[in-house]
């Protein structure tokens, strides 16, 4: 009980740092049983970041729309638009323009969603579904008209673009030994991570994966996390956007143009999803646009938004959590790391069980125990879990989080409601 109380008194950042530390210790111990080091490898976190960034961007996109009160199921479709326009822009005007044009492509989808939901009062989910159908239709048509014609000889087809130019990569100076004005700085985290010190080397390796050899888009995406928080909670613009999602009539009564903020929120939402799409097109699958390459990450972004309780840092956490199994699956050739992940899942569920027990919530305790027991049994009975285990893990995590924590989540109060001016 004393431990719980002192946890409560900690500043938020310290508490989360502690949780992260405990998490790394668990990963470190657990992977020992399976004789793998992938769980805390630098390559895993780097790959996690790469998989997580589009989810993060989609999640931040969802944040702006939903803080303005518009549910955006259409993120996936907007992201698809982003992949195509990103690739086309990069091919036509160069890598950086590609990102901008990709974002604009997504923003067009956002505009459409805004017109339908804000202007005409169409149900948000319905409009979003329509955009998810429209998005791939547009890109396919455009591919057939452009990639399959103009770029026929360089590998373009109806489902695929030729290789697109990408923006450069960077490594942070000092932390990971990046260049600074032509001077190669020392690689501090790298030095630690090679020492093979218990936990410390794991943490530094994980951190090094997060600060080295990353695309500039990743840097932008990471910078957007604190920027979004600042914008929404520290500025006039943000306050007015939030009232649009919490209680639009209250804003209207103070002469705020709610429609404007809803429009901006949804369009920005589309632009961020589009940027995420452009990232996918230029950074993954060796830098080609390919149909279906978003793989539902717009939807996962939405899940990250909910997981993150409609807050930027939470969304970042969610995006990384969902990126992690993807990354692991890619690296894990012998299935050992996936096997370890089962145990990690079991441990996490038992932690939830303890948490529920402390709150004297019998239902949750039993439920978590059953889930945790199932994961543990699976771990013990199976040598290597099937390949699809890591693939469904992110979705399972979302479901588990929803099952145990839905009541603690705090969506904007007027999220998803249709607002019409002058009805206050």
């Amino acid at each position: 009980m004393i431990a719980v109380n002192s946890l409560k008194n900690m500043p938020v950042w310290a508490r989360w740092a502690l949780y992260a530390f405990i998490g790394v210790v668990v990963l470190n111990v657990v992977q020992g049983f399976d004789d793998t080091t992938l769980l805390t490898a630098e390559g895993t976190t780097r790959s996690m970041l790469r998989w997580g960034v589009p989810i993060l961007l989609a999640g931040l996109g969802g944040l702006f729309a939903e803080r303005a009160g518009v549910v955006n199921i259409g993120l996936e479709g907007m992201m698809v638009l982003g992949t195509w326009f990103g690739a086309w822009g990069a091919l036509t005007y160069g890598a950086w323009w590609g990102l901008l044009i990709g974002a604009l492509g997504g923003a067009m989808g956002g505009l459409l969603h805004a017109v339908a939901t804000v202007q005409f009062g169409v149900d948000h989910v319905i409009s979003g579904v329509a955009i998810n159908i429209l998005g791939p239709g547009i890109t396919r048509f455009l591919s057939s008209e452009i990639f399959a014609v103009k770029y026929k000889d360089s590998g373009g087809s109806i489902t695929q673009s030729p290789r697109v130019p990408t923006v450069g990569r960077m490594t942070f100076p000092f932390l990971a030994g990046g260049d600074l004005g032509g001077w190669k700085t020392p690689d501090i985290l790298g030095w630690f991570s090679k020492k093979d010190w218990f936990v410390i080397s794991d943490i530094t390796a994980i951190l090094r994966g997060l600060v080295s050899d990353m695309s500039w888009v990743t840097v932008i995406a990471l910078a957007l996390v604190p920027f979004s928080a600042w914008l929404l909670w520290r500025t006039r613009f943000g306050l007015r956007m939030r009232i649009s999602g919490e209680r639009p009539e209250a804003g209207e009564a103070q002469g705020i143009n709610i429609y404007f903020y809803k429009y901006v929120g949804v369009i920005v939402s589309g632009a961020l999803a589009g940027l995420g799409g452009a990232f996918i097109a230029s950074q993954e699958l060796s830098g080609v646009y390919k149909e279906g390459s978003t793989g539902g990450r717009g939807f996962i972004g939405l899940a990250a938004l909910i997981f993150g309780n409609w807050r930027p840092m939470g969304i970042f956490g969610g995006a990384m959590l969902f990126g992690y199994p993807f990354a692991l699956k890619l690296q894990d050739l012998n299935g050992k790391a996936s096997h370890s992940l089962l145990l990690v899942t079991a441990i996490a569920l038992f932690a939830v069980m303890l948490w529920a027990l402390l709150r004297r919530n019998t239902n949750d305790t039993v439920l978590a125990a059953v889930f945790g027991g199932a994961a543990l049994a699976w771990y013990l009975l199976v040598e290597t879990p099937p390949t699809w285990w890591a693939a469904i893990l992110p979705y399972v995590i979302v479901l588990i989080v929803l099952i145990f924590f839905t009541k603690r989540l705090r969506p904007p109060a007027a999220d998803g409601q249709i607002y019409r001016k002058g009805e206050a």
């Binding site: 549910v71 199921i73 459409l112 017109v115 339908a116 005409f120 009062g121 169409v122 149900d123 989910v125 319905i126 409009s127 579904v129 329509a130 955009i131 998810n132 159908i133 429209l134 998005g135 791939p136 239709g137 547009i138 396919r140 048509f141 591919s143 057939s144 008209e145 109806i158 539902g296 939807f299 996962i300 939405l302 899940a303 909910i306 099937p386 390949t387 699809w388 285990w389 693939a391 469904i392 992110p394 979705y395 399972v396 979302v398 479901l399 929803l402 099952i403 839905t406 009541k407």
Partner: protein, 372 residues
């Protein structure tokens, strides 16, 4: 009778407007892309007038319609069952496997397969219902997650577990379930069609699942509009608080609606399973989302969904002819479909507002007329 006609006209105006808008917008896209829209539409209509094409359209419309009804059941009480996609894939997989394993006399065998499909669909849809009722989790997000679990998990697992050996033995497997014996296959309807028309050529077979679809449509219509359950369902959708005070248990309704929606969703994949006798390694996906579109366009009514399904099927099938005649890129069809949906939902919203305003005016006129 005039108000009635007026209401019908207003009801039909919205989809007509949407269609016109979509055609105009698509024509502009075609013109910009350098194709002649009139030639393209001409080719499409010409093609659709052939008997074999009509069979194709009906075969395509059948699962679309069933999927649309599945979505409409949820929509009618403001439940967004985005999970039709996962429900039908899982249901078809399990039903195909069960069908290939058991051996029973024809009508029973067939019935068992369909019941399994509906049960699996209802069960999987029911999960989202349980999560909503017991934990307050939005069905939108839970069904999206459950879809992903099916597509990237359970389908892979099931196909691996139940893959049939390749014909002629050997190590090669041809991923997909084993074939369902004849007794478990629904006969095609060619014979019936041929009574009225010439013989159907080109090896086209009109799916017998069409009969099931019609049964589903009629059942949905009658249940919804004439039964007490339907009344409760629509009341919950219109105003859950009033329905509750009126004796409708909201939890029970959510569970039943999700399960029923899932059960119908379970039938979506049967067209494909019955056609090939197997659940193939690469099944048709996306019918769940298309069904949402069909339900939206058809305003959640059986007749509306039938029209919408036929229209979408017509567009789908027509896309092939565009490619072969070269009059336009076939992908324009997908854009058209997307535009139709978006335009339709906007148009419905606009006409709804017009109607509300007119009714309010009529009612207040009645009021002042009576008092004066």
């Amino acid at each position: 009778m005039r108000p009635f006609l007026r209401r019908v006209a207003l009801g039909a105006a919205a989809p007509a407007m949407a269609l016109v808008f979509a055609v105009v917008a698509s024509s502009i896209v075609l013109l910009v892309a350098g194709s002649n829209p009139f030639r393209a539409y001409g080719d499409m209509l010409n093609h659709a007038s052939k008997l074999e094409t009509m069979i194709d359209i009906l075969n395509r419309a059948t699962p679309l319609f069933i999927s649309g009804i599945a979505a409409a059941i949820g929509f009618r009480m403001n439940l967004f069952n985005i999970g039709v996609e996962g429900q039908y894939l899982l249901a078809a997989l399990v039903a195909a496997e069960v069908g290939s394993v058991i051996h029973l006399p024809a009508p029973i065998h067939l019935t068992v397969i369909f019941l399994v499909a509906m049960t699996v669909g209802a069960g999987y849809g029911g999960i989202a219902g349980v999560l909503k009722v017991s934990r307050g989790i939005s069905e939108v997000i839970s069904t999206i997650m459950l879809n992903a679990v099916v597509v990237s998990g359970l389908l892979v697992a099931g196909l691996k577990l139940w893959q049939a050996p390749a014909p002629g033995g050997g190590n090669v497997t041809r991923l997909g379930t084993a074939e369902i014996p004849k007794s478990g296959r629904i006969p095609n309807l060619n014979k019936i069609v041929e009574i009225f028309t010439r013989d159907i050529g080109r090896d086209r077979k009109l799916t017998g699942v069409l009969v099931v679809a019609i049964m589903v449509g009629v059942g949905f219509h009658v249940l919804l509009n004439r039964s007490r359950f339907g009344f409760d369902l629509r009341a919950s959708g219109a105003n859950p608080f009033a329905a509750r005070a009126g004796g409708v248990s909201p939890k029970r309704m959510v569970l039943m609606a999700m399960a029923l929606s899932g059960a119908v969703a379970g039938l979506v994949g049967m067209t494909e399973v019955m056609q090939g006798g197997v659940f193939p390694s690469n099944p048709i996906q996306g019918l769940g989302f298309a069904g949402i579109a069909v339900a939206l366009l058809g305003r959640n009514s059986a007749i509306g969904a039938a029209v919408a399904a036929l229209m979408f099927a017509f567009l789908d099938i027509s896309s092939g002819i565009l490619q072969s005649t070269g009059s336009a890129s076939r992908e324009i069809i997908q854009i058209m479909q997307g535009l139709i949906i978006l335009a339709a939902v906007v148009a419905y919203q606009v006409t709804q507002r017009v109607r509300d305003r007119e009714e309010a005016r009529a009612a207040s006129a009645a009021l002042s007329g009576a008092t004066a």
